[in-house]
Structures are given as C-alpha cells and as structure tokens.
Amino acid sequence: MRHALLLGLAAAVAAGVPWTQASAQMDDPVAAEFDKFREVLEKDNPAELWEVKGEQLWTTPGGPKKASLEKCDLGLGPGVVKGAYAQMPRYFADVDRVMDAEARIVHCMITLQGYELDKLDDKPFSSATHTPDPVSITTYVAAQSAGMKLAPPQNHPKEKAAYAIGKEIFHYRAGSYDFSCASCHGVDGQRIRTQPLPNFTKPEQAIRSVQGWPGYRMTGGVMHTLQWRLTDCYRQQRFPEPGYTSETLSALLTYLTVNASGQVYKGPGIKR
C-alpha cells in the first residue's frame, strides 16, 4: 500500500505535477523508506569496528606516560564507563568547567597519558584513511550507555549556566549568511534538500541531536562524533571554526542533551 503510494507519487513528481499537490503525502513515504532501511543498516553497523578499537585504546597503556585510561573519571568515579556517556555533559571540579564526553576523554588523555592538546586537536576528525584515537574511544564509551536514559545533570550552577549559555549560542545568528543553529533546527517539519531537519528546541525531537552519535557516516564511510557534527554545522553555517572540545561546544551539547533528557540513548549509530 505504502509502496504503491510512494511509486505513484514519485511518478507524479517526475511528470511535473506541481509539488504543492504532492508534497504533503510525499514526505512521509520517503522518510518511512529511509527509516525502514536505516534499521537494516543499523543491524550491522561498521561503528562496531571502532568500538572494539576504542576499548583497546581505553584499556591498553599508551601515550608518553605509558598509562591506560582506566583511571579516567567520566563523572561516575575513576574507571566507571557504564552509563557515563548518558550522563554527560557534566561539571568537573578538577577543571572547573562543564565537559562533554569527548572533551573529558581528551582531558584524560592529556592528564593521565601525557598527550599534548596541540597534537590531539591538530587533526581531530576522521578522514577516509585515519580515525583519531579520541573518536574511537568516544565510540567505545558511548556504546557502554546503549539502552540507557539520557540524564545529563543540572545540579551544579555551572551545569545550569551551560544550559542557558548553550541556548543562547544555539540561537545566535551571525556569519556571512546570518545563520544560527536554530535557522535549520528551530522549526518543525523542515527539510534541506531531502534531509529532514529535526527541531531541537522541542524535547521529543531533541533526542535526534544525540541519537546515532557517535555515528558511522555513510558519506565518506567514516566514524564521527558530536564534536565533528557541531563543528561541521558551523562550517555550513559559514562561521569561523569553534575550538575542538571548547566550552562553546560543551555548552551547546548541554543544551541539546538536556532537552532530550529522559529519552533512551541507543548507542553509536549510522548517519547519512
């Protein structure tokens, strides 16, 4: 039934029937078709390859100090990984700031393993031929929160401040094209080309900013984290570049994750 409808509409559009007549029904079958095969793709997700690698990197001594990350405190105590990702970003007293998962992992790599930030943030994002270690580790850590409810704390004053600041940053319009995050993700039911744009200001849709990340991105076939996602949004917003693991990105992630609070995180996913 749905199948026939989809084909019929595709044919109508191809034949030049004005979109206004077709659009209302067209959105749903295409989205439904994408969702159906998204399930197929998620069943065997190449992200698992990096999950395995990340676990190795977490448990194996490495870096100039030849230490493992097993003493890294992700907010639930040193070495506790299970559930940690679902409860970040959060405030960390040792750095007196709110950190998201990847920011915290990078912090641990610096303090425990002796890596230098300059080297870690030189090329922090995956390419076709290289996946940086923090990406693999974040994928591993995220996988240990699969099936858990998102519960980023909002207790410490700086956690509350990060939410309020993140909300401002989300709505801040500037850059060559006057775009903010909200230009694309502040209204219901919009698309760029065929890509649906969830409204992250609404709790039930905000989950889509977190769900599926870290994600295996079909375009390019690379593993990416939320640090990459937000940074690349800023590229497309025609902004200058936000610093890797900066407070700005942690604040934005606080805003997005708190909006999605209480919803179930499914673990690393697959993205378009």
């Binding site: 069943k43 065997d44 190449p46 698992e48 390859l49 395995v52 076709a128 079909m218």
Partner: protein, 105 residues
C-alpha cells in the same frame, strides 16, 4: 596491517546467521584527495569456512561500500562450531578472523 573483522554467528534453528564487518577503504580509483587520485584498493575475494570446510565464497568489485558488511547463512551448524572468514585485496593483503557459533534465541 589491516584491522580485525567483527564476525557474529548466531544459530536460528540449525542455520547459523553469519554477519561480518570488515575494515577496508574499498577505494574505487576514482576518488580524489588533495588533487590526486587515490589508487584502486579493494577486497577482491572472500571465503568462509565452517569447521574448516568452505561454505561461502565471493569475488567482488570496488563497488562494494567502504568498510564492507556481508551476511550469509550456513545450514547444519551447531553451537561451538568455528566460522572463519578470509578476505584478500588487490594489493595482495589478506586477513582471516574466526568466531564461534552461538546458540540463538
């Protein structure tokens, strides 16, 4: 050296559902990076064995997606049986990984 595959083999009745994730760039020889064409680099053949006996094999092209995923089904498998998968690419590199068939639901 190539990264390990991830292989899952789960029994459904007497059929083992085998699902394989491979880490490989599967370069088509048409992609450019920094103005230069990245040379053709892809897995050409795959074989799978059940307790050492071949059950599945394939010749494939560069049109298979990067980081390939395959699934196939093997009849007459039991829990504890060994499934081994081998791939070989056009540069002669090869990798074999194994797993044990697990009882399903």
């Amino acid at each position: 050296m190539a990264d390990p595959m991830k292989i899952r083999a789960t029994l459904q009745g007497d059929v083992a559902d085998v699902r394989v994730l491979m880490a490989h760039p599967m370069e088509t020889g048409q992609r450019k990076q920094g103005g230069q064409v990245v040379p053709l680099h892809f897995i050409q053949s795959i074989t799978a064995t059940l307790n050492g006996k071949q059950v599945f094999s394939a010749d494939i092209s560069q049109a298979i997606s990067r980081n390939p995923v395959f699934a196939f089904k093997v009849k007459g498998a039991k829990a504890g049986d060994e499934i081994a998968v081998t791939w070989k690419d056009n540069k002669g590199e090869t990798r074999t990984d194994k797993t044990t068939v697990r009882g399903g639901s």
